[in-house]
Amino acid sequence: MKFTRARGVGLLGIFIAIVLLFAVNNSLGNKITETSKIQSIWDFTSTIRIPDSAKLKEDPKAPPVAAIELPTMITISLICGALILVGGTLIAKNPERGWVAPYMSSVIGFGFFSILLWAVANNSVDLSDTLSRVVRLGTPIAIGALAGIVCERSGVVNIGIEGMMLTAACFGYAAAAISARMIYGESLPANVVKGVVWLPLIIGILGAILTGGMMAALHAWLSIRFKVDQVISGTVINIMAVGITGFTRTNFLLKFESPLRAGLPQMPLGPLADIPLLGPILFDHKPITYLMILMVIGLNFFLFRTVWGLRTRAIGEHPKAADTVGINVNRMRYRNVIIGGMIAGVAGAWFSLEGSFGFDDGMTNGQGFISLAAMIFGKWNPIGAFGGSLLFSSADALQLKVQAYNFDLPSQFMQMLPYVVTLIVLAGVIGRAKPPAASGKVYEK
């Protein structure tokens, strides 16, 4: 019997299912001694609530639209049983194609669901809130992935997205803080204290975009003009970003008094936000999250329907062919890398102006690299990359969610989850994803 990818994935799936089953069994067993009402692990139930978004605003105790009560152990056992069964089939039959990706995706998807049920045993969870959080946390990852797509589709590898994001987060925040001080002085006037101070925040976003663009221009200059290896050049950007932002924060941001106290506000889209489940997931977010969705759709259109997109795809795949029909390959690459950096700048603004308000050292926390994983997962397509981003952010959202439930899996393990998932996805699910053929190669006539 030969070891193949299908068999490896089958084995991994079975392993994950068995470990999960044992862990749940143990953990629920331990809970029985503490509570007297429950006699056996089969008595635990997990409740999933879908709250009534419209009424929730007036009455925080408004009854949910739906509350589904699932027997915890039975549901998890069924899920794991099915995963083991399919995994076994994979090992026995060794199918050559078409099985691996769906199987691994269901292992991850159902695995997440089981962990959620496990965490809320004898308790209930708000589904709208959980899923809304997935979209929110997926925002910087998705935007970063778009930045990567714009670069790599034109043939320039960009592993400096993390650094571009971090620098943009730092200087975006600085731009907002300084402009607020210049406009309003030491404190906000009474009439705007309560409202949102849009002008400095927008200046902050623009500052972040500009910063991202400048970092990218450096990357482009090094890798196109001086033909520096693109991975090295990207690494230079990442290392430099840590230094610049650390310096700026300790020597400037920490000492600077800004009247600005809050970042970008929540912007529910009127009645749409009141739709149960769908409303909170799609229509009750802050501005950059909406912008992300528009950018995904927009880039998909630009890449596949416009002259710019056609040329971008051509120079990333076969620059010589593009050159012979009169396209200036290097000029287009400069332009695309800088546009990519500006997009990464938007993701940077998310960190310091939307996700939280303020700048911390290393606050991008590897999300730029996860963006690249999402890009690869999506095979360099905007929509696919968006899907990848949601997969990775759901690992993150789950991790944050279960911490609130006094969950007995060590929090360090849960914090590893997004990265472990990234690893499994890159190695197992997508197999060999084919990057643009000329990606990473210097173009010389």
Binding site: R305, H318, D323, G326
Partner: protein, 511 residues
Amino acid sequence: MTANVVPALEVRNITKQFPGVLANDHISFTLLPGEIHAFLGENGAGKSTLMNILYGLYDPDEGEILINGKLAKIKNPADAIGLGLGMVHQEYALVDTLTVTENIILGTELRKGPVLNAKEASQRVRELSEQYGLAVPPDAIVGDLPVGVQQRVEILKALYRNVNMLILDEPTAVLTPQEADDLFRVMRELADQGKALIFITHKLREVREVADRITVLRRGKVVGDADPKTASEGQLAALMVGRDVVLKVDKTAANPGDVVLKVRNLNLRDDRGLTVLDDVSIDVHAGEVLGIAGVQGNGQTELVEAITGLQALPSGSIELLGKDITNRPPRSITEQGVAYIPEDRKGTGLVLGYSIRDNLVLSTYYKPPFTKGLTFNDPAIDENAKELIATFDVRTPSATTTAGSLSGGNQQKIIVAREFTRKNRLLIASQPTRGIDVGSIEFIHNQIIKQRDAGLAVLLVSAELDEVLALADRVAVMYHGKIVGILPIAEATRERVGLLMAGIQEQPNGK
């Protein structure tokens, strides 16, 4: 020919000097509208340099180019296209992942503002393909199409840009004979509609078939003009090479012995899951040449790499003299008596940065007399180099010259010298004469026959059908990873093999 027609293109005294080579030496010619003008010459005769100058890829040192009677400055391909001059390169300038239409319109897009006008573009492609009889599927992904169709896309790309002159650089190199005939029909059609065509080739048969006029180049100079109707192949060959050439390989009938190589049921898929080898089984006997014909990329490369141990096999078996060598390491296979001339001379055959003397011991350096204890025995290696350079007529200033600085023919001789001087039972020669001069071709062909007559089993893989037909005793044809037919040489006519190469199976009972 009327004297008062303005030539579409006139070239006067073009000269181009590369370091060490005078690639073009005062070349002049004219190209009239509606004619097919063939340029015949060996590799390295300066044909490609000349065309690259016309297409704006090189700057000439001297000389001028007139288009429609007016002096033209061509700085880059875009200029050339603007002046109505298009070119189809040997390696197609097509983006594999884009559709046919996208490839054709790239750079000169039909647009509504920034947005592509996809509908009108594919309509325009359809019109053009009907006008010139070049059938292509406008919305197919180019990478999925056969090379013959890809070539049509290249031609359409030029026509879409309204060129009236078209340079075709070795257009038949990757085509089956039938695809080549189809190309000739298209070329004639284009000429009839008033386009002027330059057809570059080194295949004598083709120029006589399609050209209106022939110019022969040798060592960067025009050495003669010929009329395809009157010139014989022998005359053309003599012009090309500068001396009389034996076009046929002299050989006696084969005297096949026992089976040396036994290949059974090889199957292989590539990363995308597409079939590369489809149940391949062949036998090669001692003292015979089994030639494998087929258009490039039909599994020949993988078959050869499987036999030499460079490609792992999931199923099937390979036996050498009754001993199983399936999935054995390459060195072990080499040591059991397999000589190998790889198709990629520069990547697989030689270490270009190493000296000739080192390249000559690449497969034996670890054995005495070349190694003594832990160190090399330099005198033995030098002696070996001296001897082989003389025996195999490698033209080089010294044994310490790097392999990369030699011509293709001399590089190939180094490989032949290295491989043929071991004790061998099987010779695998993959594209042994690709891109080398006629003199070296003759030499290598004779060497291969000599090995056969010494009792080796020879497996010859070549995309040049003429080469297979000249050397082989039996011809196997590969198509889509499958052996679609094995013919004794007496029955292997150009037409029969050509049909098999195109995947058309012989139907004994009509249907």
